[in-house]
């Protein structure tokens, strides 16, 4: 019997107490939010500059019109996919150990998906023209498909976070008497009069199940369509039929890493060592090995197939990656951000919470730069040579406003997760109790 579900020694009251403890607005939280807010305001100043002066303040130009904004967007969409893998695929397969961390995965998914949409807007010099996508968008355009699936995915992720949380919201409503009035009111209306009746559980389970089924194709399409933004164009490095699965497999790597980091943070700050155990980290580490292996497999395909055939443009692209202009970043990302971490976590000691979290941070950073490698170099190698243009157009390096606005997107994600984790218990209380009763009755 593994230790993740053996909580027989905890009483129900103890569980309620432990898991509701984090729902408060303590000094630490205020300090942390204050820090995030100040940082966000600084970054937003740069966005104001961009609004005022247009995209000229960025390093983007006629050749590289998709820089770190779009790389970041791809990264965010990728990271948000983990919600589907953990709560839906593993949840429906009745993999019991994921239950305590499923909500964390959903939080990560929702936050990243919400901000992903905003990043697209930052890539527009005239955000007011976003409406044109809806007014003049063509149904043939992958951009229209992308907007449709991103919006849908945000809503499904939100519902999938909310509906299974109903019993816990009711618990907050009943047990938390020392929180502000507006918060009590919010719990009252959000809990939908939850009364732990059998019928309510039946309905909740039915709706959750529908969502879990629905989210699989939606999540697959959100990232497949994101990959199609690239793969549907005739450009070396993008023109690849395996871009969809390549992106999806990469998404799971980034998402797993993000969830591990979030788990570590919650476990230590919210003192949840009894609930998010070392065994959870061990299993998440194994899951990470699995998804990383699949991703390595796709990476090999992405390089070796065009590299072997070596038609002119593709050969140049592969050459730039392996030995040329982008080789340093390429090998750092592939070896340092994927292969070495994956080899390390094959060993059990490396799957302990702290080492695994450090490795996850490295993998997540690698995953971010990997998106830059996918997005940028292709644009610097158009079929027609770059001629008679300003010298700066033969390369791309992000400017300070660009970096600041990208940092802002990360701050927003952390803020969303922080606030949600302060409003609601991060570990599903009723599910932990259910598990425990189930075990005790055996």
């Amino acid at each position: 019997m593994n230790e993740t579900i053996a909580k027989g020694h905890l009483s129900e009251e103890q569980i309620d107490k432990d898991l509701l403890k984090n729902v408060n607005w303590g000094g630490k939280f205020k300090l942390w939010m204050g820090f995030l807010t100040v940082s966000l305001i600084i970054c937003l100043y740069y966005y104001y500059q961009q609004l005022q002066n247009g995209l000229g303040v960025t390093g983007l130009h006629d050749y590289v019109s998709w820089g770190i904004y779009i790389s970041n967007f791809v990264f965010f969409v990728a990271t948000s996919l983990i919600g589907m893998l953990v709560s839906s695929v593993l949840g429906m397969m009745k993999v019991e150990w994921v239950r305590p961390v499923a909500r964390i995965a959903e939080l990560v998914a929702l936050a990243f998906a919400m901000v992903a949409g905003l990043i697209i807007i930052t890539d527009m010099g005239r955000p007011d023209r976003l409406l044109n996508v809806f007014i003049h968008g063509r149904v043939q355009s992958p951009i229209v498909w992308d907007i449709a699936v991103v919006v849908t995915y945000v809503v499904i992720s939100g519902l999938l976070l909310y509906i299974p949380m109903l019993p816990d919201i009711a618990l907050c409503r009943d047990k938390l008497n020392n929180v502000p009035k507006w918060q009590q009111k919010m719990y009252r209306s959000l809990s939908l009069g939850w009364n732990n009746t059998a019928k309510q559980f039946r309905l909740m389970n039915r709706y959750t199940r529908m969502l879990l089924i629905l989210i699989i194709p939606i999540a697959l399409s959100i990232h497949t369509v994101t990959s199609w933004l690239f793969a549907m164009t005739l450009r070396s490095g993008w023109d690849s039929p395996i871009f969809g699965p390549y992106f999806v497999s990469g998404a799971f790597v980034a998402g797993c890493a993000a969830v591990i980091i979030a788990m570590f943070f919650f476990r230590n700050n919210y003192k949840l060592k009894e609930y998010i155990t070392a065994d959870h980290f061990d299993r998440m580490g194994k899951l990470l090995v699995l998804v990383a292996l699949v991703y390595v497999y796709f990476n090999i395909n992405e390089i070796i197939v065009p590299g072997y055939k070596a038609n002119t443009a593709d050969a140049k692209h592969v050459h730039e990656m392996l030995y040329g202009h982008d080789s340093v970043m390429f090998w750092l990302v592939q070896l340092g951000g994927l292969v070495i971490p994956f080899l390390l976590i094959l060993f059990k000691p490396m799957r302990k919470p702290l080492p695994l979290t450090i490795i996850a941070v490295v993998i997540l950073a690698g995953a971010w730069f990997k998106r830059v490698l996918i997005v940028v170099p292709t644009q610097l190698a158009p079929y027609y040579p770059i001629q008679n243009v300003p010298e700066g157009w033969t390369g791309y390096s992000p400017t300070t406003p660009e970096v600041a606005i990208t940092v802002a997107s990360f701050i927003l994600v952390v803020m969303i997760i922080t606030v949600l984790a302060k409003l609601f218990p991060v570990v599903p209380i009723w599910e932990v109790k259910e598990d425990m009763n189930h075990k005790n009755n055996k």
């Binding site: 003049h136 968008g137 063509r138 149904v139 043939q140 498909w145 449709a148 849908t152 809503v155 499904i156 519902l159 509906i163 109903l166 939908l192 009069g193 939850w194 009364n195 009746t197 059998a198 019928k199 309510q200 309905l203 909740m204 709706y207 529908m210 969502l211 629905l214 939606i218």
Partner: protein, 295 residues
């Protein structure tokens, strides 16, 4: 080092020899005296220069390079740059003769170009010489007939019928060349000579693409000795072109309204299907509220 020096001297010597030999080779080539004195019956104008340039670029550039650029192909003997002094020192008749007859590696263009076209090339070569003054033949007592032309198309035999008159008399043995004018140049339909009735027939390819009505812009030139005439006319003698918009029909690349049906169905059915399910769940939340009392 020493060896190197010797080597250089040998190369230099060879080069000098080659240069001398080549100069000789070129200056050796003399047109027969009679040909040398031949004068162009046409006044070299911009029109001729332009046509000469097209002919030159198609047939001469590969060896002689661009005039004035000294970028002719290194051959032995060297073809030389037509804008160079040595070239321009020749008479018009000499140039005309050499282009027409050729020698050694210089091809013979007699069959490729009619006389007027050869003169076009001479006119083009002369356009690089600022000091050049065209020597015109003595025209005293020579009457140049003024040609008039009428064009028609015989659709039974797909032939362009060109009638050449001068003061209402049909003109025999006039060289006629017919062209179809395009946006970026002209396409030679064919060449013919008028018969004793002053009529020349030029074959027309019936698959030639015309405009929506099958019209093409035809240009016909008639030349005989000093007489010269040119006429342009829009004529219905080609295959009508049906113009289609590139985005006509339902395509991935068409407008939104003309998106492929399968795509529209797939997209909207998926989007509305998923949102229908989501709304079903959202409205279903009321049932959870209703179910708060155990039945």
């Amino acid at each position: 080092m020493k060896n190197n020096k010797g080597y250089h001297i040998i190369i230099l010597f060879c080069l000098c020899f080659l240069a001398v030999a080549n100069v000789n080779a070129q200056s050796d080539w003399q047109a027969p005296a009679e040909e040398n004195e031949k004068l162009s019956p046409f006044l070299f104008d911009d029109d001729m220069v332009l046509e000469g340039r097209i002919a030159y670029e198609n047939s001469c550039t590969s060896c002689h390079g661009t005039p004035g650029q000294d970028d002719f192909t290194p051959m032995s003997p060297p073809p030389g740059d037509p804008a160079a002094e040595q070239f321009q020192a020749q008479s018009d008749g000499s140039m005309f003769y050499k282009i027409k007859m050729g020698r050694g590696t210089m091809p013979k263009f007699e069959d490729a170009f009619a006389d007027d076209e050869l003169w076009n090339i001479v006119a083009y070569i002369r356009s690089f010489n600022e000091d050049y003054k065209q020597e015109l033949p003595n025209m005293e007592g020579v009457v140049i007939p003024e040609y008039a032309m009428s064009l028609s198309f015989d659709e039974n035999v797909d032939k362009l019928v060109v009638k050449v008159f001068a003061e209402e008399l049909p003109q025999p043995e006039v060289s006629v060349s017919a062209y179809v004018m395009g946006t970026f140049g002209k396409h030679l339909l064919g060449k013919a000579q008028t018969n004793e009735l002053g009529i020349a027939y030029v074959d027309v390819d019936p698959t030639l693409p015309g405009d929506e009505e099958g019209k093409v812009n035809v240009m016909v030139k008639a030349t005989k000795e000093f007489a010269r005439a040119k006429v342009e006319k829009h004529m219905v003698m080609a295959k009508p072109t049906e113009r289609h918009s590139a985005i006509e029909g339902r395509h991935i690349w068409s407008t939104d309204r003309m998106a492929p049906i399968w795509l529209k169905i797939t997209f909207f059915v998926s989007v509305f299907g998923v949102w229908f399910a989501l709304l079903f769940i959202v409205f279903g939340l009321r049932n959870i509220k209703k179910a708060r009392e155990e039945a």
